[in-house]
Amino acid sequence: MKWIKFIIVSLFCFYGYKASACVDLYTPATCYMFSVYNRNSLIGDSVKLKHIAFWKAYTQNQLSDKDLSNALYGKDKKERQLLTDYLSRHNDRDAFYYVSLLASMNRISSDNDQWNYPTKADLINRKKTWLLLLKEASRKIDRSKNLSSRYWLMAVRAAFYSGNRKMCQQLWNKYSRKFPKGYIKDLAEGYQANYWYGDGEREKAREFYARVGDLRSLRWCFRNDIGLSGIQRLYAEAPHSMAFPYLIQDYVNSMDNDRMSLDFEEPGKVDSIKLALEKEMNDFRTFASTVISEDKVEYPALWKSAAAYFAYLEGKNKKAIDELAEADAMKGNERMKDNIRAIRFLVSSATADYHQGYDDYVLKELHWLVDKVKAEPMYADWYSSRSHYTDVMERIVFFNLTPGYLKAGRFTTAAALTGMVHEYIDVELSNQKHGQIPPGSNKWNMAQDYNNELFDLLDTADVKDVVAYAALIRNTDKGTDLEKYAASYCYNSSDYFNELIGTKYLRLEQFGEARTYLEKVPLAFMSKLNTAPYLHREVTSPYWFAWQMRGKLKGKRYVTAVLTENPKLAFCDEMLNLQHDFATATDDVKKADCSYRIAELYAQASLTGDCWAYLHYSWSAYKESVRSHSQENYCRKAQEWLEKSNELDFSDANRVKCLFALASLSDKPWSEIGYDENYKEKLIYHFDGSQAKAFNDLYPLRSSPAFVECGLKKCDNLSNYFDHFRDFTKKMIF
């Protein structure tokens, strides 16, 4: 019964792998589903860029960004020369004076030499300079025509750094209403926020940091409030706190990620962690319920939707849907309502039965998500260009909709949705092009078209499903409304699909069908495949004698030239011809020869052979993952044909070749290096393995002319085996 359990567990693991293998464990799609504030809007232009932009406009684009940067942030006269010259030419004394004060400020604000430590005299000088800046900048606030707010900011800053808190606050109180909203005012207010926080007006400071999007300062403010106990403490202190959307969003997403990461954890560790997670989620749900009933918080929808999300994480999907409906009826801002809608889509997709009626809902929500994607600015990260709503799309489609539709037997719908999300997010929105290697990536196997969620799905699917999918996206009239909509976004290159389908038939050894697709693929397309440089290798050179032909084969290992023929198509033709020859041959010797040549082709095109690129789009030292991914048995087929050849022709010449070939294809070498209990190297022998058997059978033939002609006397591995065998038999005799 153990083998049944093993198979079930393996299938489960494989399914789990397929369901969630599409994305990494810690991508934004897995980490940021719950969104009541746009975390990406906090990544904006720095203050420095805003300063430069202001002065660029002030100087009517006469100075470059670099010149302005040097002028505004440098310390000596030379660095601000261009700017001061401009201001002099335009007789702008006010700005000229401002820039000179700025230079004084820069001189005392930062020191390039870290080894310098201020002496007492330096400290006195700094204070004097700050006080001078305070005096002069304050004087100019009301007099400056164009730079009033900047003088004000300088004065506030000088007051702060000279320890003149009273003056700093007076400047704020006097002028803050005079100046419009903007980054200058925000910078000035930042100094007040520092005082507020220190004085215990923590909520006032948090409100400020939340408003300006200073996430770093905000997180520092509530650094002790992370987690449920922190949220509870904050609620007790300030039920209306501006920090709750940030706190709760971070909290919910971290719980979500922990819950998801359990799927990747070792089984032994899962239970205790899962129990702790569930207990905490329940504790939060209870607390949220109390908070809502006390009616003190501004947005009860925030709390209810967080509680509903935890219900979903606990697998209580119906409860989650009900609570989301309740949350939707409560007070919340627009983003909170959008968040509820996105979560509802996520939860429903986890449990839907994927009938036609559900398609209508999916279609409607996808339209909505695409509109949201278009409305929100994108940002670039390590993965691609993205936004919160692209993350939502990926999460819902890759983790729920695709597996759901697959389970319901609707491959084309699943593939169309996957294709849509991949094409829209990773290609269109990221300004990528098909057939191109993304900049900075490894040239080998990282071409976009063969390393994405859609490709993973198609590469492992039944070929008939892929044919149906290709037919759908070429003629969307045949699909459902949902499929039509999704397919309208999908990549629909006929060359891509012909090549892919042809390769899939090739793996299944259906050479005729493979041919009908491959012959339609132009050489220009073949030459742009990510594996194209590996397609120049010789498939007819026997894999097991490659060691004798290194010189000849060396130049063809990696060739970046354009292909002059389609090697996969040529392979099909060769196989078909040989199969025909085998079928029509009347004598065993000819049949044996055909068998041997067929075996050569199978071996070379297998994962072990030189021409692995005929059947695969990537290669890994960990061959098992690629082999299972790509459903081919070429190595085993080669062995079968070799055995057939061996049986048909008993001549020494044939037997030597076949046995040596079988030995080379064996997955169990006769000896290998292992380690003893003290981690010292030792040889491990497999005398019962297929290689040992083949070598054994070769032993009596070691003196035959065929053995010499094949050059087997130069094979060290074989010689070592013979030596060992000789010693062994000698010992046996004695």
Binding site: Q114, W115, G227, D258, E265, A276
Partner: protein, 338 residues
């Protein structure tokens, strides 16, 4: 003749202890201060008072390589409250051993900076300590640095120069300084998940005891009162945790007496405003190493067998409220040999 021999014997005894006194004037209960903000709370002030602490070895800054591999001062201390008047401050500078490749002007920079810091913060100093985990391969450069520092200090007046001595350095040549502080802490490998107590362990100290007797540099000794929580991810060391409330069951589960498992991914706040903190993930483990008074007293007894005079001055690492309060006052007096 017998009287003469007796006199010679007494004189030699006297010269041994007298030599020690000459090198280490006023050996006294001492502490290390290793924080970046000099501010003493009432508990720390009380500690200094009741144990008669007269010397404070204060870390002024570290020297580490920057992005261009140039030695730079980092973590410079900020004096917020004044040092108690009756306590002598001895600046300590930790030098990362990779900086020893740039000795040329490093000595000058260190001495100049320490002097400026002392002057700006109204500290009167006549001693400097250098801390470095040097090995045989960096010994030459380190000793060169010490010699240069010593020369520069001599130009300023009468200065003592000391260095920290780690247990493994007892087998090496003695550095060109006036005395050393034997670091009897961090004796094990904190990165080793399987190791016992990495702060102080007899198993780690014992192999070096025989070298202690032969080591000719005058020594005093420093003992730890801190504990630490070591974060491991799948058996690999990741970080020392400064703030982690292991009693929080929503975050940690106790697996063994000194081992906890993280049950919720969370961040630990960092005092560094540039940092969002350290992320602890579900499944990570926290190993707690701690030291008791009896652990210290036991090690002291072993060391004393080899080097009786070493405890004329004991330095506690380090002055920090949570740590010093773990040890009872009478136990601390025993450690201080009062």
């Amino acid at each position: 003749m017998k009287n003469l021999l007796f006199c010679v014997f007494c004189l030699s005894l006297f010269s041994c202890t007298g030599h020690y006194d000459k090198v280490l004037p006023d050996p006294a209960p001492s502490v290390y201060f290793w924080r970046t903000v000099f501010r003493l709370d009432p508990a720390e002030m009380k500690f200094l008072r009741i144990h008669g602490v007269k010397k404070m070895y204060v870390r002024f800054f570290d020297v580490e390589p920057d992005g261009r591999q140039q030695p730079m001062p980092v973590g410079t201390i900020r004096f917020v409250t004044p040092v108690p008047k009756d306590i002598k401050v001895i600046p300590v500078v930790y030098v990362e051993h990779t900086c020893l490749q740039h000795v040329a002007d490093l000595a000058e920079k260190i001495v100049k900076r320490v002097s400026t810091m002392a002057e700006t913060n109204n500290l009167s100093i006549n001693e400097l300590q250098i801390d470095c985990d040097w090995t045989i391969s960096t010994q030459k450069e380190y000793f060169d640095l010490l010699r240069k520092i010593r020369t520069m200090l001599a130009e300023k007046g009468t200065y003592l120069l000391s260095t920290t001595i780690r247990l493994h350095q007892l087998s090496a040549e003695k550095p060109p300084v006036d005395y050393g502080v034997l670091m009897c802490y961090n004796t094990g490998n904190l990165r080793d998940y399987q190791a016992g107590n990495s702060i102080l362990s007899e198993k780690d100290v014992r192999p070096y005891l025989s070298q202690l007797r032969k080591y000719s540099l005058p020594l005093c000794v420093a003992y730890p009162v801190f504990d630490w929580k070591l974060l491991f991810e799948r058996g690999q060391f990741r970080a020392i945790l400064r703030e982690a409330d292991l009693s929080d069951p929503t975050l940690y589960r106790r697996k063994a007496s000194h081992l906890y498992q993280v049950v919720r991914t969370h961040s630990l706040a960092s005092p560094d405003p540039e940092s969002f903190g350290l992320m602890l993930r579900v499944g990570d483990e926290v190993k707690v190493d701690e030291v008791t008074a009896s652990d210290i007293l036991h090690i002291q007894s072993l060391i004393e067998e080899e080097r009786p005079e070493i405890h004329r001055q004991v330095v506690i690492y380090s002055l920090n409220s949570p740590d010093i309060n773990k040890i009872k006052p009478y136990e601390m007096d025993q450690i201080y040999h009062r």
